[in-house]
C-alpha cells in the first residue's frame, strides 16, 4: 500500500517537475512563552508547490510554528519570509497569499455554509461575482453544494472539516497551512481530506505546509518531512531518505502468507538475485529480506510465476516510527494527549522534560 501511494505521487511530480523557487524561508525562528521555548531556532526552506510536513508529537512546537508563519503569533526571534515577504514587516502582504486550516474549525455554527464562506471571502479583496462563483465551485468540489443554505452547526464532523479546508482556499492562496487537518476524522473522511489536499497541491499549484502527529499521514502526503521535537527540527528529508536513515540501505523485508507453500518455492525465492535470505516461520509464513529498488516487484513476479497463492503481504519497510525512534531516542507519545494550551504553559511545561 505504502509504496504504491508513493509511486503515484512521485509520478505526478515527475510529469511536471518542481520548480526550485523557494516559497518559504525560515531562519532561526524562535518563540518563547514566559521563559519556555516552544520553538527553538528552527530554520528550513520550502520550495514552491512542495508539500512539506512538520511531524512531531503533541507539544513539539508544530502549531506554534504554523501560527508564526501565518502571522497569528509574533516570533520572539528570527525571521521568515513567504513569497519574499517578511512575516512581521509585511504581514498583510503575507496574509494575502496564505490560507490557514487550523486545528479548530473556523466556522460559525449559526451561519449557513454559504454565509460563512461569503463572510470570510469578503475579508479579502475579491470582486463580488468572482467570490460568488468561487464559493459555488469550492462547495461543488467537496460535494457540499446541496448543503449550501444549511447551517454549519448541523453538519457532521467530516462535512465541517471539508468546509474548514475550502474556507482557506477562498483567496486562492499560494501557500496553504494545514494544522492537523485530519485530526478527529473517521477513516473515510481522513482519506477524502488527504486526497483533497493532494488535489489542491496538484491543480492549484499550491505550496502546502501541514503538521501532523501521524506517521502514516506524513508518509502518504509529504514530499519532505521535518521531524520536530522539543521545538527543534531533528531531521529533515524526503520520507524515503528518512527511512534510509534507519536501515542505512535499501533493504526490503517482506512477510508473506502462502497457504500452498512448498520447499521448492522457498528454494526458488532464495535463488533470486535480490534476495538476501528467506526464513520460514511456520507452514504458511515466510519472511524475505531483499535489497535493491526492484526487489519488491521481482519477488512478486516470481511468486506469480510459481503459481503461489498469496494470502497476505506485509511490507516490513522501516517506518517513520522507526525513524522517529532512531532520531529522538524515544517513541512518539501519540497516545497521551498532553497538548500544551496556549496561555497555560507555565503549569504544564515541566512534564515535557521527563524522558
Amino acid at each position: 500500500m505504502n509504496s504504491k501511494e508513493n509511486t503515484i505521487s512521485s509520478q505526478a511530480e515527475g510529469e511536471e517537475p518542481l520548480e526550485n523557487k523557494v516559497m518559504i524561508e525560515v531562519k532561526n525562528l524562535t518563540k518563547k512563552f514566559n521563559g519556555f521555548t516552544a520553538v527553538d531556532q528552527i530554520s528550513f526552506e520550502v520550495k514552491e508547490r512542495e508539500i512539506f510536513g512538520l511531524l512531531g508529537p503533541n507539544g513539539a512546537g508544530k502549531t506554534t510554528t504554523i501560527r508564526m508563519l501565518s502571522t497569528l503569533t509574533r516570533p520572539t526571534e528570527g525571521t521568515a519570509t513567504i513569497g519574499g515577504y517578511d512575516i512581521v514587516k509585511h504581514d498583510n502582504k503575507v496574509r494575502q497569499q496564505i490560507g490557514l486550516v487550523s486545528e479548530k474549525m473556523i466556522m460559525y455554527d449559526r451561519l449557513t455554509a454559504e454565509e460563512n464562506l461569503r463572510f470570510f471571502g469578503k475579508l479579502y479583496d475579491i470582486p463580488k461575482n468572482v467570490l460568488n462563483q468561487r464559493i459555488d465551485e469550492l462547495l461543488e468540489l467537496v460535494q457540499l453544494s446541496k448543503w449550501k443554505n444549511s447551517k454549519v452547526g448541523t453538519f457532521s464532523t467530516g462535512m465541517r472539516q471539508r468546509m474548514n479546508v475550502i474556507r482557506a482556499l477562498l483567496n486562492m492562496p499560494k501557500v496553504l497551512f494545514l494544522d492537523e487537518p485530519t485530526l478527529g476524522l473517521d477513516p473515510q473522511s481522513t482519506v477524502e481530506v488527504r486526497e483533497f489536499i493532494k488535489k489542491v497541491n496538484r491543480e492549484n499549484r499550491t505550496t502546502i505546509i501541514l503538521t501532523t502527529h501521524m506517521m502514516i499521514e506524513a508518509d502518504r502526503l509529504c514530499d519532505r518531512i521535518g521531524i520536530i521535537d522539543h521545538g527543534k527540527i531533528a531531521a529533515l528529508d524526503t520520507p524515503t531518505n528518512l527511512k534510509k536513515l534507519v536501515s542505512g540501505n535499501d533493504t526490503t523485508v517482506l512477510k508473506l502468507e502462502i497457504p500452498n507453500l512448498t520447499r521448492k518455492l522457498v528454494t526458488k525465492m532464495e535463488s533470486l538475485d535480490c534476495v538476501r535470505s528467506v526464513s520460514q516461520e511456520n507452514s504458511s509464513h515466510i519472511k524475505i529480506h531483499a535489497t535493491g529498488d526492484k526487489a519488491f516487484d521481482t519477488i512478486i513476479d516470481s511468486l506469480r510465476a510459481e503459481n503461489a497463492k498469496v494470502n497476505s503481504i506485509e511490507n516490513l519497510q522501516p517506518t517513520l516510527e522507526d525513524v522517529f525512534l532512531h532520531i529522538t531516542g524515544r517513541e512518539m507519545r501519540d497516545k497521551v494527549d498532553n497538548k500544551i494550551q496556549m496561555g497555560n504553559h507555565r503549569h504544564s511545561m515541566p512534564r515535557r522534560r521527563i524522558r
Binding site: S70, R74, R95, L100, I106, M107, L111, L123
Partner: protein
C-alpha cells in the same frame, strides 16, 4: 482607501455578529426580557407614598368619652371618609395595644392606630388629644411610609378641626381662620412642570446602565469567545486592519445595547408614564457617546483576559460596583467622600447624569458641555491605550 476598507470590514464583522445574535432564539428572548425585568422590578418595587394601597391597619378606640360626648367617633368617621377616597388602608378593629402587636406579629396588620382613653376628655379639657401610631420595625420602609402618611392625615384633620374652632370662637371667615392656624402655605415646585417620581430619576440611569453593560460584557465575551472557538484566527489571518475587529465587535454590541435601551425607554413611557422632555435624538447621541467612553476600557480588559470565563468575570467585577457608584440608583450626594471621588472617575456617572438632564430637565447641548467633554476625553484616552494593547494581545 485604508479608512474605507476599515469601515467596510468592521461593518461586515458587525453584521456577522448580529446575524449570529438574531439566529440565537434563546439569547434573543433573554435580550428582550432582561430590560423588561429590570424596568418592572425597579419601577414597581421602589416604594413611593402613592404606592400605599389597602394596607391593613389595626384601629383601637380606647376613648371613654366625656360628659356624653365622644369625639373619637367623629375622628374615626373623618378618617374613614378620607380613606374611602384614597383607599390607602384597610381598617381592622382591635381592642388594645397588645392586640395590635399580636396582629402585626401574625402579619394581619402592617401598623396600628390607637386613640387614647382620655381622647375626648383631654380635648374637652383644653388639652391635646393623643393618637398613637404603632409601626412594624421589621419592615422599616413600610413603617416609614405608614408613619409619614398617617402623620400627614392626622395633621390635616387637626388643622381642619382647629380651623373650625378658630372660625367659631373668633367669628372669622373659615379661610382667614386657616391663615391663623397655618400661617405658612408651603408649596413644592420642580424646575419643570409635571409630576415626577423616583422612576423619572432612575429611568435614564437604567438606560445608560443597560447599554453600558451590554457593551462591557458583550465585547469581551464576543472577542474571547471567538478566540477560544478559533474563529478569530480566520479573521486575523485575513489581510485586514486589526482595528476593524474591535470596531466591528463594538458596533454589533452597541446595536444590541441601543436596542435594549430603546426597549427600556418605550417601557418606561408606556408603563410608568415617563416623558422625555429634551430631544430624543440627543438621548441616543448620549448613549452612543457613553458606549464610546467605555469601549476602550472593555478592549483593554478583553486583551488581558485569556478566555471567555475570565473575561466575563472580570467585567462583572468591574461593572457591578460601577452600577452603585455611578448614581444610577442612589444619588451620589448620599455617598461618603471617597465613594464620591470614585464615582467622579466613572464615565457612567456622566452618561446617567447627562441623560437625566435631557430626559427630565429637557436640557440641550450647551448645558451638557461638561459631561460631553469628560465623556469624549475619557473615551479618547482609553482607546489610545486600548489599541496598542489589543494589537499586542492578538499576536501573542
Amino acid at each position: 482607501m485604508g479608512a474605507r476598507t476599515l469601515i467596510s470590514n468592521s461593518l461586515r464583522i458587525a453584521w456577522k455578529d448580529l446575524m449570529e445574535l438574531f439566529r440565537n432564539r434563546m439569547g434573543l428572548v433573554l435580550l428582550i426580557l432582561m430590560p423588561i425585568f429590570m424596568m418592572v422590578m425597579v419601577g414597581f418595587i421602589y416604594p413611593s407614598e402613592t404606592s400605599m394601597k389597602n394596607v391593613p391597619i389595626a384601629l383601637v378606640n380606647e376613648d371613654a368619652g366625656f360628659g356624653g360626648y365622644n369625639l373619637s367617633s367623629t375622628f374615626i368617621t373623618m378618617l374613614s371618609r378620607i380613606n374611602d377616597n384614597a383607599s390607602m388602608m384597610t381598617l381592622k378593629d382591635a381592642s388594645s395595644l397588645e392586640d395590635v402587636r399580636g396582629m402585626i406579629q401574625a402579619g394581619d396588620a402592617e401598623g396600628g392606630i390607637i386613640v387614647s382613653s382620655d381622647f375626648t376628655a383631654d380635648i374637652m379639657g383644653g388639652q391635646q388629644g393623643t393618637i398613637t401610631i404603632v409601626t412594624d420595625q421589621s419592615n422599616p420602609q413600610m413603617s416609614a411610609i405608614i408613619q409619614a402618611v398617617l402623620s400627614e392625615v392626622f395633621k390635616q384633620m387637626g388643622t381642619a378641626l382647629a380651623q373650625q374652632n378658630v372660625a367659631e370662637q373668633l367669628n372669622l371667615d373659615p379661610s382667614k381662620a386657616l391663615a391663623v392656624v397655618e400661617p405658612f402655605n408651603v408649596q413644592v415646585k420642580g424646575s419643570v412642570e409635571g409630576d415626577f417620581s423616583y422612576f423619572d430619576f432612575i429611568a435614564p440611569g437604567i438606560m445608560a446602565m443597560t447599554v453600558m453593560m451590554s457593551v462591557m460584557t458583550g465585547l469581551p465575551a464576543a472577542i474571547s469567545h471567538e478566540r477560544e472557538v478559533g474563529t478569530l484566527d480566520g479573521i486575523m489571518v485575513a489581510p485586514i486592519n486589526r482595528l476593524s475587529v474591535i470596531l466591528g465587535k463594538t458596533i454589533a454590541q452597541m446595536a444590541r445595547g441601543i436596542l435594549q435601551g430603546v426597549l427600556i425607554l418605550v417601557l418606561a413611557m408606556v408603563l410608568f408614564g415617563v416623558t422625555v422632555h429634551g430631544n430624543i435624538l440627543l438621548v441616543f447621541v448620549l448613549l452612543l457617546l457613553g458606549v464610546f467612553s467605555f469601549v476602550g476600557l472593555g478592549v483593554v480588559l478583553t486583551s488581558f483576559a485569556k478566555e471567555q470565563e475570565t473575561a466575563v468575570m472580570l467585567m462583572t467585577t468591574i461593572t457591578f460596583p460601577m452600577l452603585f457608584l455611578s448614581g444610577v440608583f442612589f444619588p451620589i450626594e448620599q455617598m461618603p467622600w471617597f465613594m464620591q471621588a470614585v464615582s467622579k472617575a466613572l464615565p457612567l456617572t456622566y452618561v446617567a447624569d447627562a441623560l437625566r438632564k435631557v430626559m427630565v430637565l429637557g436640557a440641550d447641548i450647551p448645558m451638557l458641555t461638561n459631561e460631553l467633554a469628560i465623556l469624549i476625553g475619557f473615551g479618547t484616552v482609553m482607546i489610545l491605550i486600548a489599541v496598542p494593547v489589543f494589537k499586542r494581545a492578538m499576536t501573542r
